[in-house]
């Protein structure tokens, strides 16, 4: 591998307050959702010192069709924000088709130079596809990604193992556009970015059947105890002797996970690298950036029949990350 030149990363905690300089974006791509975090960036944009000339809302038919009235009201609350917005109808199960249609959905989008993406309520396959699309099908050289942490997660009866982000059958898929390349490799390595839902990691490991499994825990986590919850809930994966010792990467930094993945990848020159980004979204963002830089890496993800309606509560910190597409 050629020597990689270091560069500064740009990751900001967004503070409400007076801003001398307002950062303007041509477009913000964001997902509709009933989660309070869905429109936090939009609600707080003025306070955070950002301005979006136009907003593209990804409106998922699976989400709004089965909500009760309270959740539906939250889902549609973007209407009250007075934005210059367009709605793009899409299906959670098929990001590929939606992304292909993005080009034609808004003609001005093609000439946009400053684009932002709020990943707080996108599913991971979706924002992976969007980022790949932005990198390969547009002239944008970097994108600002926003993310809002939840204040807490929902654990029924206070038992950590009760956490389920999905329900119903699971099917492990390659995220479209990230099939990797297993030719000329002698073994299969699976890197699991641990989340709270232990069933997902077991499912993926069984389906992918790697020779070695590396686990990366989000630590430091959003809150201190979270780093233990992910380990407790992934016990089945951790006890296997094919799983290496637990590695760590900060839960809210895509850049740290990128560095770690790059370090691991350098050591496994003959392995087919698979990444299952089932941890936090910033970590998934880092994995996405990594896979864009190293296209031989495959991204696998468990698609559920249904996502749980409510898994988090309220909002906590909001972050912005400058994701560069052209790395030297």
């Amino acid at each position: 591998m050629p020597k990689i030149r270091s560069k500064e990363y740009n990751m900001q905690l967004l503070h409400p307050g007076h801003h001398d300089v307002i950062t303007e974006y041509d477009y913000l791509l964001t997902a509709c959702g009933s989660d309070f975090r869905a429109y936090q960036i939009l609600r707080m944009s003025r306070d955070f010192g950002v301005l979006f000339r136009k907003v593209l809302f990804f409106n998922f038919e699976e989400r709004h069709s089965c909500l009760d009235s309270t959740l539906l009201e939250a889902y549609q609350s973007y209407e009250g924000l007075g934005l210059n917005a367009s709605l793009i109808g899409c299906s959670i199960k098929d990001p590929s088709t939606c992304v292909k249609a993005l080009r034609d959905s808004d003609p001005d989008f093609r000439s946009a130079t400053k684009v932002a993406l709020d990943i707080s309520c996108f599913t991971k396959p979706y924002f992976f596809c969007l980022l790949k699309y932005l990198k390969e099908q547009t002239m944008i050289s970097d994108v600002t990604v926003f993310y809002t942490e939840p204040m807490s997660y929902v654990f029924s009866k206070g038992l950590y193992q009760s956490y389920h982000s999905t329900s119903g059958p699971l099917s492990v898929m390659e995220i479209p556009g990230f099939p990797g390349n297993d030719t000329r490799t002698t073994k299969k390595v699976l890197v699991v970015l641990l989340g709270f839902d232990g069933e997902l990691s077991s499912f993926i490991t069984e389906d992918v059947a790697p020779d070695d499994t590396l686990v990366i825990n989000g630590f430091p986590a959003y809150a201190p105890k979270f780093k233990e919850i992910s380990l407790i809930n992934n016990e089945k994966l951790l006890i296997s002797s094919a799983t290496g010792p637990v590695l760590y990467s900060r839960a809210n930094s895509p850049f740290e996970i990128f560095n770690l993945l790059e370090h691991l990848y350098e050591k496994e020159t003959s392995a087919f690298f698979n990444i299952a980004p089932i941890g936090t979204k910033p970590m998934a963002l880092g994995a996405c950036l990594f896979a864009l830089v190293y296209p031989a890496v495959r991204i696998v993800y468990p698609l559920p029949q249904k996502y749980a309606d409510v898994t988090t509560q309220e909002c906590w910190n909001s972050w912005s990350y400058e994701i560069p597409f052209r790395t030297t």
Binding site: R5, K157, L159, Q161, P224, K227, I232, N234, E235, Q313
Partner: protein, 320 residues
Amino acid sequence: MLIYFNSRYGNENKNAGKQKMSIVLPSEEELFYQIMLTVDNVWDNKLSKKDIEKWLCNFNGAVFPVADERRLALYVLSSFVYYNENEVRHLCRTLFSDYLHWMLLHEKDGNSDVERKLDSIVYTSSFCPLGKPGESGAFVLYYFRQENNIGTKQMSDALHPPSYTKTVVLVDDVTISGDQANAYVRMADKSKRNVLLTFIASKDATEVLCNNGIQVISCITLDERSKFFSNDANLYRDFRSSFEDCKRFAEEYGAKSMTYQEKPVEPLGYKNSQYAFGFFYNTPDNSLPIFWADNQGWTPIMKRYEKFEEVPYREFPRFV
């Protein structure tokens, strides 16, 4: 939702007259199972069930019926955060990386080559423990040096760094009140930049120290969610109605645990910190005393090695 708990132990006589707890908690079996998984997968098999049972003997029904208190104690224990050795080493790497990042953003020397800039930053930094030799800062600095491959030439005394030092970097594990760092600031050389790297810091301490001229960089910032009895505490999201009961439980037993303690602190931790965390090498007194108190009236579950200015009395063995 207030549902009264039914004792499973048939100890009604023992508990006669005691107020029942207004809390719905998982069963003792569920809590033990959760703790078992935690011990297995996170806490390096540090505790066995026997150890936990010994600790549970501290709770003898003084506040609620014994069975309720056991469950409450187990629930509180399952919320404890333990940092094992691997995690501490990772925190050392993260701290260093955060330091370099911060310095890159704030050190404007006209150098556009990032790697050269980083070399210069490291070269002109002196790394020192906060506090005295033998305190946790010095212990942590040892790991810090190893994990970040820093030469011993970069290690120095905080008050007497080499002349080429531009930044004095203090290293410590926990900064909650900021008292120790403030004490240093009074004696520090103000011509140099002073930075405190700490695994864990509270928001308040960070602000105070920044105002006093020390930049605090921490891996983990403790906010209101981490305090056991704050309104934003994560712990009671599902059991809002239980808040007062739990606090009473922790306060009363916290006070009891401090009765014979040589260096007592407030019932909810030093300066009422209300935290629940510890490291493989020690438990800070900011954590609830019910975890770490160790005296004739209390059995600890998370050992704390107390720090004394002077040891008042020492016993020596027969053969020395």
